[in-house]
């Protein structure tokens, strides 16, 4: 088995991953993790320090050894084909965690490698462990996902994980409200696919109103996306999640962010009990441990 795309997963498999992740959480708490044997290779063809660290740390927690392929210093520069690189690394390890700027790279790698492949991001396409940890965080903090009001706020068009997140939220029966600046809305075919597949309807708004929100998922709005500087400044201001906004919302609101965050969430919010994005990032560990374990055990 490989983990390439959230689209390949059914609800049963996602719940199974959550179950293993929960078990990992308990083992981590007790500081006694059942060890596995083997070597994980991390192949990051584009830099992503956080994701790579999270994969490496998860593997080490499981007792695996980690070998790292440094794309910039090795054979890539000599023009070796991608599939040759994968075949070579495949011979050195038991599981591969990879990121690549081209969409579909992890799928192609999984076709040529014997070792299971974990997709840590392929271009603008998929980043399934991020989606899993996002859903796991909501489930852990709220006890459920079904029926919750989830507000997705910011540049939904360019946020890498947004399309698989709405897919996952649909799978678990959440109520989704999308709040994006004009022109930065989630692409229609992505909305349609999720709505059709899971038979639900997402709401769209153009301004933030947190009154009924249980979860607020914030994505960055980048100035470069606007031709007009004034327009950019105005939208950035409107989509900054101030402490005032949060005080108007529910007491047990959960604020999430895929990180790294810039000024879309001011530092004053970090200290508020609603801010859960660092905890969300930490949940990447039990989730990635669970995925690695599941792939290694071939279950």
């Amino acid at each position: 088995m490989d983990l390439i795309s959230f689209r390949d997963l059914d609800k049963g498999t996602v719940e199974k991953i959550f179950g293993i992740a929960e078990d990992m959480d308990h083992q981590l708490e007790r500081k006694k993790v059942e060890k596995l044997d083997g070597i994980m290779a991390t192949l990051f063809f584009e830099p992503s320090t956080r994701t790579k660290l999270s994969f490496q740390s998860s593997a080490e927690r499981l007792g695996l050894q980690v070998v790292d392929f440094l794309a910039d210093r090795s054979s890539l520069k000599k023009g070796e084909s991608f599939t040759d690189t994968i075949r070579t690394v495949d011979g050195y390890c038991d599981v591969i965690a990879m990121r690549h700027p081209a969409e579909g790279a992890a799928r192609l790698a999984a076709e040529v490698a014997d070792a299971p492949v974990l997709n840590g991001g392929d271009g603008a396409n998929q980043h399934p462990t991020q989606t899993l940890l996002d859903l796991y965080t909501i489930r852990k903090l709220k006890g459920k996902i079904a029926g919750l009001n989830i507000h997705l706020v910011g540049d939904l068009k360019h946020a890498r994980t947004m399309h698989s997140l709405v897919y996952g939220l649909g799978m678990f029966g959440a109520k989704v409200t999308m709040v994006a600046p004009k022109g930065l809305e989630l692409e229609e075919h992505i909305v349609h696919e999720a709505e059709k597949k899971f038979n639900f309807k997402m709401e769209s708004r153009d301004s933030i109103d947190l009154k009924d929100a249980d979860v607020l998922y914030v994505c960055r709005v980048q100035e470069e996306r606007f031709a007009d500087k004034y327009e950019a400044a105005k939208v950035k201001k409107e989509f900054t999640i101030s402490a005032d906004y949060i005080r108007k919302g529910k007491k047990d609101l959960v604020i999430m962010h895929p990180l790294p965050k810039l000024d879309e969430i001011p530092a004053e919010v970090d200290a508020m009990p609603q801010a859960k994005y660092f905890e969300q990032a930490r949940n990447g560990i039990p989730i990635r441990m669970a995925c690695i374990k599941m792939l290694l055990e071939g279950a």
Binding site: F82, T83, E103, G104, A105, L108, A124
Partner: protein, 143 residues
């Protein structure tokens, strides 16, 4: 209507969407070098389609794979295989459930483009999803 010789052994592709006849020739890989006798009749009045193209190729029985590829650009086309002056098989071009090696992903950021891997697609409604980049395309975009 233009008179075109009846063929003894070969293929007649009928009900090609008007204007797509030349593309069908491309799919079949027929050009001046291949030496086949070919008649392409364009803009033929048709009750079903308004206008259509018809292609007759002498000496070639086109494969099922090519028939599928024709469906991508002309979903209503029919393919008639002719032997000894008789139609021995009539096939309706149909959008295949999956495409393997037929068609190329038009997304420049797709690994199948960059690595020149054979395209892989599956049908979702009337469109194809690339199994690599997972984007969805109209059938004609794959050729």
């Amino acid at each position: 209507m233009l008179k075109v010789d009846i063929i003894e052994h070969g293929t007649v592709v009928d009900h090609i969407q008007a204007g797509m006849g030349k593309k069908v020739l491309d799919i079949l890989g027929i050009d001046e070098k291949s030496g086949n006798r070919v008649a392409l009749v364009m803009n033929v009045p048709s009750q079903k389609m308004g206008k259509k193209d018809i292609l007759k190729v002498e000496g070639v029985l086109i494969s099922a794979e090519k028939t599928d590829a024709i469906a991508l650009i002309s979903p209503r086309a029919s393919v008639n295989l002719i032997k000894d002056g008789k139609v021995v098989e009539k096939k309706q071009a149909e959008l295949p459930e999956s495409l393997h090696g037929v068609g190329k992903c038009p997304n420049p950021n797709c690994i199948s483009m960059q690595e020149k891997a054979a395209g892989k697609f599956h049908l979702e409604g009337q469109k194809y999803r690339c199994e690599y980049c997972e984007r969805v395309f109209k059938p004609a975009e794959l050729l």
